[in-house]
Symmetry: C2
Subunit: 194 residues, 2 copies
């Protein structure tokens, strides 16, 4: 085996970081909390991520973006059309919010807002992750017959509604806001894909 334990350590660090970034964001996430939640000593953290907090967060955010994109792909394979896919995606987050007492909203949002003008590397990681998400959704919309430019704009619009809905739901501690947004955006999508 080639450094199995090492790979596991890295995975544990990223997993703990992802959870903390999602629930509390970048600034409130202490590295002491990361090492505690992952049962990894601090020395190992700096061995795997010499760039410290910024590198750890950047790598985690990029992996998170990849996971989000993947889950859209999986979801769309099990749905009859893009409208159903988006509906399911909203429902997944509604469940997450309720299951975790509103700790688990969008894995990127809080960090993206905080780091936009704080650290270049994390900001770029967030941007890349959102772009990945946007492109996957846009490609699904194109498959529904929308022209390229329309699809790209509809993708942005849908993600904006999604993020805004998540924000309001978390701010109010009430998933009602997310259901309202879900119903309206799916209605809109239904009308534009003939």
């Amino acid at each position: 085996m080639t450094y199995n334990k090492s790979i596991q350590t890295r995975k544990n660090l990223i997993k703990a970081t992802a959870g903390l970034l999602r629930s509390k964001g970048y600034s409130a996430m202490g590295l002491s909390e990361v090492v505690k939640n992952s049962s990894v000593p601090k020395g190992s953290l700096y061995h795997h991520f010499p760039g410290g907090k910024e590198e750890l967060a950047s790598v985690t955010i990029l992996e998170t973006g990849e996971n989000m994109a993947q889950s859209v792909m999986v979801l769309s394979k099990n749905s009859k059309d893009i409208v159903e896919t988006v509906g399911h995606y909203f429902n997944h987050y509604i469940e997450q919010l309720e299951k975790t007492e509103f700790q688990n909203g969008c894995p990127l949002a809080t960090t993206a807002l905080e780091t936009a003008t704080l650290t270049d590397t994390v900001q770029k990681a967030c941007s890349t992750s959102f772009l990945r998400f946007e492109d996957i959704l846009a490609s699904q919309l194109k498959e529904s017959g929308l022209p390229d430019e329309i699809a790209q704009k509809a993708s942005i619009y849908t993600i904006a509604a999604f993020e805004g809905g998540l924000l309001l739901a978390k701010a109010h501690n009430d998933t009602h806001y997310l259901t309202v947004v879900r119903d309206q955006i799916t209605q809109h999508l239904k009308t534009i894909i003939q």
Copy 2:
């Protein structure tokens, strides 16, 4: 005069806090930064806000919410209909983002996401402020002839799109995202108010 300097001190503290909450959020805002930006000694801060950081942030957030609601009212008085009002509101934030190199997005969003599961008092302040905003917009939509329930839902949908657009614009450091969302939501509003 009755304690003019005291009132000014309080105003300075709230103004500095508002700026920091808007650009960096709650966790990254240090009280040492607040007292520096406001030229107020730390002792005065705890005199005016015995509850410390939480109280200072809560009061600031509530005042910010009031200001946002007021600006919608002013804007709608100078617009021919709700569609124009919303368009102008988006444009204002587009300008703000560009003018401040993406520091000044939504004055509530970052703090709302961070504090949703961190502090009860700040979370409630954010919720109250968003609700104030939502109700003002809903009442404007009702004046355009929409039935109560439809207006309330359209208000939520509009604010979600707005917040999501701001989030994406900040995450990407690109106001393009906000213009796309603006165009689509105003188009939508145009169709529902006959």
